[in-house]
C-alpha cells in the first residue's frame, strides 16, 4: 500500500500540490454532501457530527501537510503514509463500533416496542371478549372469566 518509490533513509514524504488540491476538493465535496443530507432529512444531526469532523480533518491535512508529519513523528512512524493509513483505519474502526452500539440500542428499542404493542392488543382483545361474555354484570367480576369452548 505504502510501498511508494521513496529513497531509503528518507524520513518524510512530501505531498505534491496536486494531491493536496485533490484532497481539499474531496474534503469540501464530502462536507457539502453531509450538509445536503442533513438538509434533506436523510441524516440526523447527532450522527453527522463525527462525519463533519472527519471532513474537517481531511481539509486540515490537505491545507497543512506539516500537520500530518507532526502526527507521524508523534506516533513514531517514519513513513507519513503509514501514519495516515493507520489513523484512517482506527477512525473507521471506531465508527463501525459506534454504529454497532447504536444498532444494538435500536434493536432493543424495537423489540420492546413490539412487545408493548403485542401486550396492549392482547389485553384489548381479552377485555372485548369479557364484555361479550359477561355483559354489564361482568364489570364487577374480579376474576377473569374462564369461558368454555
Amino acid at each position: 500500500m505504502s510501498a511508494l518509490p521513496l529513497a531509503a533513509g528518507e524520513a518524510q514524504v512530501h505531498l505534491t500540490s496536486q494531491t493536496r488540491i485533490v484532497a481539499a476538493v474531496l474534503a469540501i465535496f464530502f462536507m457539502l454532501l453531509i450538509l445536503d443530507l442533513i438538509r434533506r432529512d436523510r441524516l440526523q444531526e447527532r450522527y453527522s457530527v463525527i462525519w463533519f469532523v472527519a471532513g474537517l480533518g481531511m481539509l486540515a491535512g490537505a491545507a497543512f501537510p506539516g500537520l500530518l508529519e507532526l502526527v507521524a513523528e508523534a506516533m513514531g512512524v517514519r513513513n507519513t503514509n503509514v501514519a495516515l493509513f493507520s489513523i484512517v483505519l482506527l477512525l473507521l474502526l471506531g465508527l463501525a463500533l459506534n454504529f454497532s452500539v447504536i444498532m444494538s440500542r435500536q434493536a432493543a428499542q424495537i423489540t420492546r416496542l413490539a412487545q408493548e404493542r403485542a401486550i396492549e392488543k392482547a389485553l384489548a382483545e381479552k377485555q372485548a371478549g369479557e364484555a361479550r361474555n359477561g355483559g354489564s354484570a361482568g364489570e364487577q367480576t374480579l376474576e377473569p372469566k374462564k369461558e368454555s369452548l
Binding site: Q115, I119, A122
Partner: protein, 241 residues
Amino acid sequence: MRTLVFIPAWNEEASIAEVIADVREAIPGADLLVVDDGSADATAERAREAGAIVASLPFNQGLGAALQTGYLYALRNGYDACAHLDADGQHPAEEVARLLAEVTADRADLVIGSRYHAGAVSGTGDYRPTFSRKIGISVFRFFLTLATRQRFTDTTSGMRAANRRVMSLFSQHYSPDFAEIESLQLAVRQGLRVEELPVRMLERAGGTSFLTPVRSAFFIFKGLVVLLVGQFRPRQAEAER
C-alpha cells in the same frame, strides 16, 4: 394465587391447539397466553379458537423476546406465578403443573424442567438426544455450572415456572440470542433460588432440529462468549417488589 401459563409459538399451527388443550386439562386454574412470534401461518387463529389470549409480535423477534413478552405480560397483570412450555408438543402440561407447584409452595423462585436430571432417566425419561446435541449439552452444562457454582443438567430447557421476582428481573433483562443459558446465569447471579426438577419430555412430533455439526460448533462458541460476558455483568441489588 393467580397463575399464567404462556406458550411462545412461531409457526406452530399444527400443534398449538393440542398443547393448549393439554394445559387447560392439566392446569385448569391458570390463564393462558400464546405469544405469537410473528408467525406466517395460522398459529394465532388456531390459538384463539382454542380459547387462549394471543399476544402477537408484529415480526419475528426470536425466542428470547417472545419469552420476555410473556414475563412482561405476567408482571403487568399482577400474576403471582407463571410458567412457559414449548408449543411443539414436547412438553407435557402435567409436568409443568409440577414445576408450578414448587413455585407456589415458595421452595424456589425459578424452576427448570430437566430432561437429563438423574431422576428423569429412571422410567420416565423418553428423551434421547443425538450425538452432536450431547456434546453441546455437556459443554454448556460444564461451563454454566462453573459460572454459577450450581449444578445444572438441562441448560436449554424451555419448560420453566417462575414467581414475581423472576418476572420483574426477566422483563428487564433477557438476552434475545441466548435466552435459556444467559437467563439462568443472570438469575443465579441476582441471588434468586433456581432449582431443577426432573421431568418427562417427548420426542419432537415433527420436523428436525436445526443443528448441523457446523452450526452446533458455532452455537456452542457463541454460548461460551455469552457466558463469559455474563460473568462481568454487574450484580444489582434486587429491587424489592
